[in-house]
């Protein structure tokens, strides 16, 4: 298990992390979501020993990560970092060696990953001569070349075209299949929803939601009802007991039902206003879950 446990961190008066914790099982993918500045990068940097937490701990297989065990972690920082003038193959070899491979093994692993990520022809080129997408591949190769036991990737998909996204996703799924726990942050929630076994949503330095996408859905499900009545009267649902109109557009209405509100009476009201073509509980997308989770609480709640 990769465990992030009770991480606290402040920079001056700015409380960036306020008790962040989650666990990632070997072979599973964890999608780390949150608004900009929510603390995702700080969390990952703490795991890599680049930031010292005020409190809390990151553990792998029950032991706190230290300089030695971090060498078994593949890391991709948010700000991509490679030597611009160093050749692709040499660069990947260098990182393999820093992670403890001997010269021969590092060279072979580098050749293999460069080839595998489709950079074989560019092996002898300086990194700065490559396109952004290809530089991203080199960065990934640098993270994967030492056969890491854990992968921690900060925004690995940003700046990639759809083909690049697919091949990176394929590579990460391959790693997870080999039993590597993968943590990555992303703003591309559809991608997180598609790839990840579990998701954590970070807001204002706290985990506001964590679990499988299914679990999160279940928590939110049973609250949003979508009713489509193409020729309904405007504002037909106003005044129904326990019902709030979330949106209404050309007969397509999204309703939020309070606990105990009667969905059958909503249906009856809908039938009265016209022919009902769609009536179903809404499956919230991750985007909606995210909006819900990171929404700033109403002012009176903060005051309370």
């Amino acid at each position: 298990m990769l465990e992030f446990d009770g991480l606290h961190k402040s920079f001056g008066d700015n409380h960036v992390l306020d008790g962040v914790g989650f666990t990632v099982a070997p072979g599973s993918m964890f999608g780390f979501c949150g608004s900009n500045g929510a603390g995702k990068t700080t969390t990952m940097r703490i795991a890599m020993g680049l930031v010292r937490p005020d409190a809390g701990d990151v553990r792998w297989r029950g032991r706190s990560l230290d300089q030695a065990s971090r060498r078994r972690v593949g890391y991709m920082p948010e700000e991509r970092g490679l030597y611009p003038k160093m050749k692709v193959g040499e660069q990947v070899t260098y990182f393999a060696r820093l992670h403890g491979l001997d010269a021969g093994a590092a060279g072979r692993a580098s050749d293999e990953w460069v080839e595998r990520l489709g950079l074989g022809a560019r092996r002898g080129d300086a990194v700065e001569k490559l396109s952004l997408g290809n530089q991203q591949r080199v960065q990934l190769a640098a993270a994967l070349v030492s056969r890491p036991e854990v992968l921690i990737l900060d925004e690995p998909f940003s700046g990639l075209d759809p083909i690049g996204v697919d091949s990176l996703a394929e590579a990460l799924l391959g790693q997870a299949r080999e039993g590597v726990p993968v943590v990555f942050s992303s703003h591309q929630l559809d991608l997180v929803e598609r790839l990840c076994d579990s998701v954590g949503i970070l807001a204002r330095g706290r985990m506001v939601a964590a679990g499988t996408v299914e679990e999160l859905r279940r928590r939110e499900a049973g609250r949003l009802l979508r009713v489509v009545v193409p020729d309904s009267a405007a504002r037909w649902a106003d005044g129904l007991p326990g019902v709030r109109v979330v949106s209404e557009r050309a007969g397509d209405t999204l309703l939020e039902l309070a606990d105990g509100a009667d969905d059958q009476s909503v249906l009856a009201a809908a039938v009265r206003t016209g022919r009902v073509t769609h009536f179903a509980w809404q499956q919230p997308t991750l985007v909606e879950l995210f909006r819900e989770a990171v929404a700033v609480p109403a002012p009176q709640e903060v005051a309370a």
Binding site: L50, V73, Y75, P84, L98, A105, W113
Partner: protein, 404 residues
């Protein structure tokens, strides 16, 4: 996609500090020897050195050699030519020739600079290609005059002439030798200064490159800041050392081969002391340059942070040159103990030969103390500043970040 084959017996190990430092150093060296700036600067330094040697050879060999052909054997004249050459510090080579025709051929072929023809009654004639240079004419004129005077004295019945010999008493018999040593030391600190500036810049650029490209974050996930710093300074330092040793070897070998110095031993001693002071100076300046560079994130901002240190280096160079003129003056005396200035002043004082062993020892100890201080304090600033990107980091912030 092909799955990577899992190799047996090549499981990653946990490299120790020495291994990491070595890896970083090796990367620095291999990146730098392929760098255009490095290659160009090395070639320029070598060309300047060869130029200086060539200039010295040209200046020294201008007048001190002349080859004279003699038609008709005349022992007295030959002796006189040799004696005159010795008196005028001209290296005279004599070549006996059968007749005037042979003399003309030899001159045309460039075998001799001039031919002296003495056929009995006639006044001696000097044959030359175009014109007789000063030393040739002086030697020949002097020799002919000497022989003529001797013959006329003999004819007049004076067999032996007593000419009192002037006794020469040298006040400083080693002045020439000292001069050579000081000149060597000046050339030495010139090279030392250039290399300190050059390699200090390399270190500073390397640190900023890692910061600006953000690769430092990836590096620090696998090693500690001091390991990165040590590897960088060591790698470039080895390269710098190789370069200064090479320059010293070429310079010394050239000077000895072209016979530019009287006492090769002294030259070698000065060269060795310059190399040793380079090691100390580099350790101090590389650490300062690295720490200064860690405070900024862009190459454009590098100038402002390294300028104070560069100014100290320039001041040291100027004082060093001044010290060569007055190695026992108070300025040279004091600055030869100040860490940072001492590498550029002490070699000059040592070459001038006016330094006691304890003075050198004290200067070295002070320098070592400064290096330790800079590395310890600077290492903390460097650690704190490395991950702070954007704008210029203040030293106080860096120290605070290091503790956080």
């Amino acid at each position: 996609m092909r799955e990577p084959t899992r190799e047996r017996g090549t499981e990653p190990r946990n490299p120790g500090s020495a291994a990491l430092v070595r890896l970083v150093a090796a990367r620095e060296i291999s990146a730098r020897v392929r760098d255009k700036n490095f290659i160009i600067s090395s070639v320029v330094i070598l060309l300047v050195l060869v130029g200086v040697l060539g200039f010295q050879v040209a200046v020294n060999s201008g007048n001190d050699q002349t080859r004279i052909g003699i038609v008709h054997d005349d022992v007295a004249l030959e002796e006189a030519l040799d004696a005159q050459g010795a008196a005028l510090h001209v290296d005279v080579t004599l070549l006996a020739l059968p007749d005037e025709a042979a003399a003309r051929t030899a001159i045309e072929n460039g075998d001799i600079d001039g031919a002296l023809l003495t056929d009995g009654a006639q006044a001696p004639r000097l044959l030359v290609e175009q014109s007789a240079d000063g030393s040739l004419q002086a030697v020949v004129q002097g020799a002919v005059a000497q022989v003529a005077v001797a013959q006329q004295l003999a004819a007049a019945g004076v067999a032996r002439l007593d000419v009192p010999e002037v006794e020469v008493t040298a006040l400083d018999p080693n002045a020439d030798e000292h001069g050579q040593r000081v000149v060597t030391a000046i050339i030495g600190i010139g090279v030392l200064y250039s290399l300190l500036i050059l390699f200090g810049q390399f270190v500073a650029q390397g640190v900023v490159e890692e910061k600006s490209s953000r690769v430092v974050e990836l590096l620090l996930a696998t090693m500690r800041p001091w390991q990165l710093l040590a590897g960088k300074i060591l790698g470039l330092g080895l390269l710098g050392l190789a370069q200064i040793v090479f320059i010293a070897a070429v310079g010394v070998a050239g000077a000895i081969a072209f016979d530019l110095v009287d006492i090769p031993g002294e030259l070698v001693g000065t060269a060795v002391s310059v190399v040793a002071w380079f090691v100390l100076g580099y350790a101090l300046y590389a650490a300062i340059f690295a720490v200064a560079a860690s405070l900024v994130s862009r190459q454009e901002d590098l100038g402002t942070v390294v300028m104070p240190t560069s100014l100290v280096l320039i001041a040291g160079f100027v004082v060093g040159i001044q010290a060569s003129a007055n190695p026992d003056g108070p300025l040279a005396l004091i600055t030869s103990f100040i860490p940072g200035l001492s590498p550029l002043v002490m070699p000059v004082r040592m070459a001038a030969g006016s330094v006691a062993a304890w003075e050198i020892a004290l200067s070295v100890v002070l320098m070592l103390a400064a290096i330790v201080l800079v590395v310890r304090l600077g290492g903390r600033i460097y650690s704190g500043a490395l991950l702070r990107t954007g704008g210029k980091t203040k030293i106080r912030e860096a120290l605070k970040a290091e503790r956080a």
